[in-house]
């Protein structure tokens, strides 16, 4: 049995199903991310774990105890929001001390813990300030220190970084990972940003329409998306149509007819001959055939400089649009509107179960 066990959790608002039977097991000390598009039920699940939303069905078990009917104030979980929700009338120090005073700690113990928490998040110099006198990143740190001060059994974070600008977000991502390492607390983190999820998590649970459609380590999800939806949502993938011919054992895709690669499972992926496939942008290169590659002809429709290289959009012979990312300088021969030859290794093409 896992540290946190969520079993068949359901929640509907009238006809709208926010959670359609969610199962999730989280190990102690894990950093797990709930990733999904807007409205897919991430916040609903997080707030159910926190106790603010009462599920219609299903249960939540923490370390062997059923907590489904506990009030939020009795759960001893930490909660951090996008808006931080700091107490504006209290100084940074008193914000962090609040949960300890509520728990009737001794004065000395409170002072020591507050100092330690502020040092942990690097705010010891600003202890006397009021929240409105802090920057967004600093407020975020106060919210984290406050939610971690009483050693909660779980820390729940609902898109805590989405209000911050890009560079600050990366700093705070590192900060969160460090806090996770140093405190050993189990983190459940909500985001709709794939890169953020990849960068931080031990495991990612991908949400679609109130269900978890795939769960696994970031690499597994990136390399083996379980469905068309996941392959599209996690980013960097080209989704294409292909067609399988059982008589010849060949696939027609990208305007070519190629031998089905070894990992293509006829029983699993094949339905009515139509097949969904994906190719990652970085796996497509410019140039003619080579050993182990299949080449295909395309027309260039756009080039865009993206800093680390160029993103090139092309149209294939069977009218699919592909995006490829190539190093800067390698794209000199690429002219918008002109034909081009590309190549790909068939063993890097992924095939999907029909949705």
């Amino acid at each position: 049995m896992a540290f946190l066990d969520i079993r068949r959790l359901r929640k509907s608002y009238g006809a709208a199903v926010a959670l359609g039977g969610v199962d999730l097991s989280v190990e102690e000390g894990e950093f797990i991310t709930l990733l999904g598009p807007s409205g897919s039920g991430k916040t609903t699940l997080l707030m159910s774990i926190a106790g603010f939303i009462k599920p219609d069905e299903g249960g939540i078990v923490l370390a062997g105890t059923d907590v489904t009917d506990l009030e939020p104030e009795d759960r001893n979980f930490g909660l951090v929001f996008q808006g931080y929700a700091l107490f504006p009338h209290l100084s940074v120090r008193d914000n962090v001390a609040f949960p300890l005073k509520v728990r009737k700690w001794e004065k000395r113990a409170i002072a020591e813990r507050v100092e330690a928490m502020l040092a942990l998040v690097g705010l010891d110099q600003l202890a006397a300030r009021k929240p409105r006198e802090l920057s967004g990143g600093q407020q975020q740190r106060v919210a984290l220190a406050r939610a971690l001060a009483y050693s909660p059994r779980l820390l729940l974070l609902d898109e805590p970084l989405s209000a911050l600008d890009r560079s600050l977000r990366e700093t705070m991502q590192r900060e969160l990972k460090r806090l996770h390492r140093e405190t050993g607390v189990t983190f459940i983190f909500v985001t709709h940003d794939q890169e953020e999820a990849y960068a931080m998590s031990d495991r990612i649970a991908v949400f679609q329409n109130g269900r978890i459609v795939q769960i696994g380590a970031p690499r597994d999800i990136y390399r083996n998306p379980a469905s068309r939806f996941v392959a599209g949502f996690i980013g960097g993938n080209n989704l294409i149509r292909a067609r399988f011919s059982p008589e010849t054992g060949t696939l027609s895709l990208l305007g070519r007819e190629i031998a089905a690669p070894q990992h293509f499972d006829v029983a699993l992926h094949h339905r009515d001959g139509d097949v969904s496939a994906w190719i990652r942008s970085e796996d497509i290169a410019i140039g003619g055939a080579e050993a182990g590659f299949e080449s295909f002809d395309v027309t260039v429709i756009d080039r865009a400089f993206i800093g680390t290289g160029e993103r090139i959009a092309v149209r294939t012979g069977d009218d699919e649009e592909l995006a490829l990312v190539i190093p800067d300088g390698a794209a000199d021969a690429v002219v918008v509107g002109a034909p081009l030859q590309c190549r790909v290794r068939p063993d890097l093409i992924g095939f999907l179960l029909p949705d």
Binding site: P72, D74, F77, L79, F81, H89, V102, R129, R146
Partner: protein, 280 residues
């Protein structure tokens, strides 16, 4: 800009503003001289100024002092009660979003919408049945009801600046309702509650319409005393009491200006001092 246009665009509005201000000051400029008259009817001073009418105010037998005490007591009680009810409602509505709070809001705000005279007639019937006509309790209850809407609006306005997630945050941190109320919500409402209490006090202090109907010989509030003295005489003591009230208001404003504004600007400059000390 040509001088003519300048005159039209800046000069005329300025003139209008000054005229309006002067118009607002006329009653003040009239009432003070009249209060100093040496005659015993409403008039401007003729053979010199006299403080006799102010002295009359302080004479217990004239009834002004006791009316002031009555009004003060009722206004204080109404202010405290109305503010408490309004705060309880506003905070409850803030924490529990739903249909009940908005229905209740219509009921609580209804005294703003119903004309006082209709309200007054209704209250006479009701209070005569309960034997509360011309009683302290009867008047105070009515004043509380009339004062609640303003207190609700004032407290609601300051609550709308609060992040509703603060309550969730406090609960997740382990705080129970009494703690959330006392340590989280109330400290953020002090200005709204203060404003609500003052508005409620003023509402009760100068309430006349309903009070006229539900009081008789026993409860004589200051507005009622003024009303009767206008009805049966033109005593310059009226001007004296008006001037006294004016001066009291002016004094309150000055105190606010010098005590609170100074305190406010001090705390506003604090962040700068703090910001110099550290950087991160």
């Amino acid at each position: 800009m040509s001088p003519a246009r300048r005159l039209v665009q800046i000069g005329l509005p300025k003139l209008a503003a000054w005229l309006l201000l002067a118009f607002l000051f006329v009653p003040i400029l009239v009432v003070i001289p009249v209060s100093l008259t040496d005659r015993d009817y409403l008039s401007l001073p003729q053979d010199g100024v006299s403080l006799a009418h102010y002295a009359a105010l302080l004479d217990w037998r004239a009834g002004w002092l006791s009316s002031m005490a009555t009004s003060l007591a009722i206004a204080l009680a109404s202010s405290v009660l109305a503010t408490a009810v309004a705060a309880a409602y506003a905070i409850g509505a803030f924490v529990y979003v739903g249909r009940w709070p908005s229905l209740l809001r219509v009921v609580l705000l209804s005294p703003l919408i119903v004309p006082p005279i209709i309200y007054a007639v209704g209250m006479v019937k009701l209070w005569s049945r309960f034997g509360l006509l011309d009683s302290w309790i009867g008047v105070t209850i009515v004043h509380v009801m009339l004062a609640i809407p303003l207190a609700v609006l004032a407290i609601g306005a300051s609550l709308s600046n609060l992040d509703p997630r603060m309550v969730q945050a406090a609960r997740s941190l382990g705080a129970r309702p009494p703690t959330i109320f006392l340590r989280v919500i109330l400290p953020n409402l002090d200005s709204g509650i203060g404003a609500g209490a003052i508005l409620a006090f003023i509402t009760s202090w100068d309430e006349i319409t309903v009070t006229l109907f539900i009081t008789g010989r026993r409860i004589v509030t200051l507005p009622r005393r003024i009303w009767t003295s206008i009805a049966d005489s033109v005593d310059p003591a009226l001007a004296a009491i008006a001037s006294a009230l004016l001066l009291a208001t002016l004094l309150a404003l000055l105190i606010r200006l010098f005590v609170f504004e100074r305190g406010g600007s001090l705390s506003r400059s604090n962040p700068k001092i703090a910001a110099k000390g550290t950087s991160s």
